[in-house]
């Protein structure tokens, strides 16, 4: 069996091709999904990729959240389907209330693009089982509205339940509360993060690694984690 992972394209999505490529490199079939179409095409998991859906009008992710595909994605996520939201996809997941909190403009107001070190704090979600707990990884980060905010009670809950999946290491690039880069839902099947694992999956096109320039593929394990989980439960 080959796992089928859907990648949703909204108007203004930028990284759907890269996400699909990452899915294929990890060994699954990438299935294009369209925002206006409520059909999930029998996929086993869904990626909401990065970009600027609807031009970030109103708030990042605020309009995409009401796209027909999102109703189906929310139902599937509540049924346990693995869903990964990257950057704008993370913003959509918070707007649609699959994940708590929200993203506001970077504290320093600048768009930022850099290779970012993260610590994997929860290696038991559907998208992180192929990492070790406390492992440090480097994947690209690029955003304008990347400052994760939530009220103190929500933050305490996230920490207490082990739902902070990734934390920024070395430097907090956007002012996110408690250095949070990514979180998960209670069940661990829905994960959202601001940095971009799909841009670190192929030697020659990733961040610099210890071995060679541009050879970092620390993002690939997101996708192999999901695939392994899907095949194990098939």
């Amino acid at each position: 069996m080959t796992a089928r992972i859907g990648v949703v394209t909204f108007p203004g999505t930028l990284d759907d091709r890269d996400a699909a490529r990452a899915v294929r490199l990890a060994g699954a079939e990438a299935v294009p999904l369209f925002h206006a179409d409520a059909d999930l095409k029998d996929v086993d998991a869904v990626v909401l990729p990065g970009g600027f859906s609807y031009g970030d009008y109103l708030r990042a992710g605020a309009i995409s959240r009401f796209a027909p595909i999102m109703e189906t994605v929310v139902d599937a996520a509540k049924g346990g389907m693995p869903v990964l939201g990257i950057c704008n996809g993370f913003q959509v997941l918070t707007e649609v209330h699959l994940l708590p909190g929200s993203m506001i403009k970077n504290e320093h107001l600048h768009f930022i693009c850099r290779d970012q070190t993260l610590r994997v704090e929860n290696a038991e979600t559907a998208w992180t089982t192929e990492y070790q707990a406390d492992e440090e990884i480097v994947i690209p980060l690029k955003n304008q509205d990347g400052q994760y905010v939530a009220d103190e009670r929500t933050l305490d809950e996230l920490e207490g339940d082990g739902r902070v999946v990734f934390r920024y290491v070395g430097w907090n690039p956007n002012g996110s509360r408690r250095d949070i880069a990514g979180i998960t839902n209670a069940r661990g099947n829905v994960v959202g993060l601001m940095p971009h694992p799909e841009h670190a999956v192929e030697p020659g096109f990733g961040p610099d690694s210890r071995d060679a320039g541009r050879h970092g593929i620390d993002g690939l394990a997101f996708f192999t984690s999901a695939i392994k989980g899907l095949l194990a439960s098939a």
Partner: protein, 88 residues
Amino acid sequence: MATILVHVMPKPEILDPQGKAVGSALPRLGFDGIAQVRQGKRFELTVDGDVTDEVLAKVREAAQTLLSNPVIEDVVEVTVMDATGAVA
């Protein structure tokens, strides 16, 4: 035709990076004495008929559902502006 105005502001406890940047630009331009700036949004929703209680209730719901994100923003005011521009 009347227009309903919806004002949305970042929650007081949420840092407002845009307001902060505006606030620090003001004294550079000689506008002294302004202690703090917070930046929000004003929506103008023009309706075909009269602004009934039912219409207002619908707009308030839209304000909570789409126009604001209650995690980071508050709907601080919903008012009605008539054709002459007077705000009730």
